[in-house]
Symmetry: C2
């Protein structure tokens, strides 16, 4: 048997995974891993948790894993080596190593160079205390900067990397200001879930939205003050750059590979690039979406792992297919967790148009009488025509990861919302309620789908409120604390007696705090002769999450 040579370019997370998988497939190949830095590292996903102090010895763990990797898989590792040119038709990689240029002929090449964190082009924004958030060296520099006086840190960027960094820094007792140029955090998430995350972060850090850094003042090699576009000046001991990711695909582009407009390399379900004998994986690739089939870039660790396994196996001769990417994402934001899977409402509307419906509920993470129970927000995106689940988002203090994963499995299985409503999920009081929030959300969605009870979303009601007869069906105490301007107050308990006080012909929206009483009221009112009734999905919790105000009114 001729011994094949498989070269893996990139040694963070995906490269070693691809190498290991290639070894599983081909025990006899020469497998060569090429990494620019001084050691093969697995750390990227752990930086924020080391910064926070929760993980004590990330570097130690990494070097152990690195040794295990080399000895168990029999992979040749070149560290301090950089791939500088690729001749795909000739199957030759040029590598700069220890001042020398080497050419490496290969049979198969796996490209796994990941992505860089670009530094914004702002005059003066550089110094020992200005770091991206990608390597152990970044972390060491940040810790050093924070050990000095001040402990004020600016995090530039409100995507998942910026939010994770802010979470870790707050836990490390830094005084954090996060600056994001858009009006919201976490652009992959819907408005309500993103606002949930924002509120959790703003409780323990300063969050500045709609502004960006336009200048920096330095002293003794360190940036000391940032100037923002909104006129704010920030004193800083350190600056963390987390303003997006830039795929490291220059080498592939120069070799003629087809890139997406976002500069990721397009791969197919076999993780092949457009170049012969070249596979790619990790956070530098776009993969086919689970729902739309179109290429999507989802720079998440779990997907990076999956592409790495497929690229490694296939480079070694297998024909493994990539499962479709659901763009699943999970971010811890201090006491809160937010996540998504499948299509967001915005993606669904772009893809399936008006047939995309969104159902939002707030329900207890587990039996409300068991300690630690707290409402989770569950948002389901589904197809009005087929009833199929397209996506889900979730936010709350506990059990968010579970509901996201259940939704991911449900999407993979093509479940409709009424099937999801009936899935027999596990019940024990510390973990769920007899009717799990996922079952509740799907039940409510199915009621809408079957035209049993219609809801209206908070964002839509915000635009249309004056056209509706609004009915607050909560108790008096809740009503007194604040309601929607112009709403009538008729508690659910009294609704049967007092239904005559309402205009039966007028389009009506019933609402409460979470959506549950509103749902019951809508069902009651439509059976008591009102011709056009809906309820506010997610209730006033959702109304406030989309930025709408409450007013104090006297009861009628």
């Amino acid at each position: 048997m001729t011994k094949r040579t498989i070269v893996i370019v990139g040694g963070a997370l995906s490269g070693p995974t691809a190498a290991a998988r290639a070894r599983e497939v081909d025990e006899h190949a020469r497998i060569l891993l090429i990494e620019r830095n001084a050691h093969v590292s697995y750390a990227v996903g752990g930086l924020a948790y080391h910064l926070s102090g929760e993980v004590k010895a990330l570097a130690d763990l990494d070097s152990q894993r690195s040794d295990f990797f080399a000895s168990v898989y029999g992979v040749e590792v070149w560290t301090g080596a950089e791939a500088t040119a690729l001749d795909a038709p000739a199957r030759v990689l040029t590598v700069q190593r220890g001042g020398e240029r080497t050419t490496v002929p290969y049979d198969a090449l796996v490209f796994a160079l990941g992505a860089a964190s670009p530094v914004p082009d702002v005059p003066g924004l550089s110094g020992k205390n200005v770091r991206t958030f990608r390597t152990l060296a970044d972390l060491a520099a940040l810790k050093k900067a924070l050990a000095g006086s001040g402990r004020r840190v600016a995090v530039l960027g409100g995507g998942s990397m910026g939010v994770e960094a802010a979470d870790g820094l707050v836990r490390a007792k830094a005084k954090v200001t996060l600056v994001e140029r858009h009006q919201r955090l976490l652009p992959q998430l819907g408005t309500q879930v993103a606002r949930h995350a924002e509120a959790a972060l703003a409780a323990r850090a300063r969050v500045i939205l709609g502004a960006e850094v336009i200048g920096a003042e330095s002293a003794r090699g360190k940036v000391r003050r940032l100037h923002l576009s909104n006129g704010t000046k920030l004193e800083v001991a350190a600056v963390v750059i987390a303003a997006g990711l830039s795929p490291r695909t220059e080498l592939l582009e120069a070799a003629g590979a087809v890139l997406a407009p976002d500069r990721t390399v397009l791969v197919d379900a076999l993780a092949r690039t457009s170049l012969p004998h070249v596979w790619a994986c990790g956070v530098c690739v776009s993969v086919p979406s689970a729902v739309t089939g179109r290429p999507v870039w989802s720079a998440q660790g779990a997907l990076a792992d999956k592409t790495a396994q497929v690229a490694g196996a296939n480079a070694a001769g297998a024909q493994v297919r990539l499962g479709a990417a659901a763009e699943t994402m999970l971010v811890r934001v201090l006491d809160t967790v937010v996540g998504r899977t499948g299509l967001s409402a915005a993606q669904a509307r772009a893809h399936v148009g008006v047939d995309a419906e969104v159902t939002t509920i707030h329900a207890p993470s587990h039996d409300p009488w068991f300690p630690g129970a707290d409402d989770v927000l569950v948002e389901l995106v589904w197809n009005r025509h087929s009833g199929r689940l397209l996506g889900a988002e979730c936010a709350g203090r506990s059990g968010v990861d579970k509901r996201i994963d259940v939704a991911a499995a449900a999407i993979a299985g093509g479940l409709t919302v009424d099937q999801l409503a009936e899935v027999d999920l596990g019940y024990a009081p510390p973990f769920s309620a007899a009717r799990d929030p996922i079952n509740v959300a799907a039940t409510v969605a199915a009621a809408h789908w079957r035209e049993w009870v219609r809801s209206i979303g908070a964002e839509q009601l915000a635009k249309l409120a004056p056209t509706f007869q609004l009915v607050d069906v909560r108790g008096s105490k809740q009503h007194r604390a604040g309601t929607i301007a112009g709403a009538v107050h008729l508690p659910l308990e009294a609704l049967r007696e007092r239904v005559g006080e309402l205009d039966r012909k007028r389009p009506t929206v019933a609402f409460c705090d979470s959506g549950r009483r509103g749902y019951l009221a809508a069902r009651l009112l439509q059976q008591r002769g009102l011709t056009d009734v809906r309820y506010l999905g997610g209730g006033l919790a959702s109304w406030q999450l989309v930025g709408q105000p409450l007013v104090r009114e006297r009861a009628r």
Copy 2:
């Protein structure tokens, strides 16, 4: 419109749920709920958690919910009323209420009387301190008995109710002895997961298997000592009876309804009994299984809730179908959680025969470098012919509920193990690993399905061990601590060099602690010329869970 009368018999959890759902469907019906006890109660699922001290005021919460229920849903509630006879053709229920007999004509009847906890027929086994574990009154009596001297409690029965009670009692600082007549706990679970639960309980309580109570000694109206069939005598301050459930179906049986051999009432997917205009729900019914379609009895709260919703809606005129029951179960056992969904290995073998395969892995609940990570056992049951997931079990200290629910959704969607391996689950270090244990288990199952690497289960290897060449591929330190008798020690790191020491023609099993290194070794060895190689699924962790010993041997 003629006003219909819907009568609900039984007021614990399922009856009120059915009544509420009936009200949603029919705003105008008279809905009458009949309950034997003094108040409508929701407490059954919360008893263990109140006993433990984690839930402070279960009774208060319940009465609040009861008031809310009556006022919001407009349901007429008769407490202290017992249904004594049913004439289904005439649609008349006879009720004993406050010393008087009343007949109640109805249009639809929902039967939700639940199940009783039968007291074993043992001479002397009764007294103020001998209680079942079904009501708030039971709980009050137990607390009173425990407030006295001793704090020794015997729990009779090792099913989920007995284990839950033992968990609550240990947390309440009682000295617990659990007595189960079979040789294992939790009969619904497979051997390995049940042993996991047993170990967790035995760490903080006395667990006596294979014995039952044959006599009891009393003093002043209280049982003071139990005599067991194995000769053991137990001093007790209280006795908790949790020896199975007996469905309260006498009334239906007398009325001519078809019961299952286990005395549950058979209902169809519309929750209809065999009697006209009579529906049934809760823990007294058998429902069609998700996987086999055959009736199954799964006395779990979540399923009780689902049947109640369907029965209530349909009694009020809807045509809602029950989702298939997956017999999902989740039990907390002190620091451990165990669960199942779908078919167990035993059920699958009975149903699909030799085509049922079982894959067992142990993998970290989340990134091993993040605090609190601990191996979870995941066992997948799948169809060797179609690759479809049939069932799953899980045990561990964290994240068990999540993996069970993901499997439940995957079964509902008909996923194959290779599809499940690729489901894009959420990753963040506190909650999962880049490759979630569910993905890992499904990857390993798929490798077996595709005949890529074959495993052998611990129970099977225990029977066949002498026929195999056994290879311990762990490090020297682990090997010295104990291995399988007769095994060769060849660490994975040295396997490539030392493969010549093995007999290539002999059927071989490679093993390690968890299964991972064994898997890699098997793949390596079959590519290095061994003709028949497997690895021990779940490694020595599973080997020990099925009760097999380790021996100390010198390295060759």
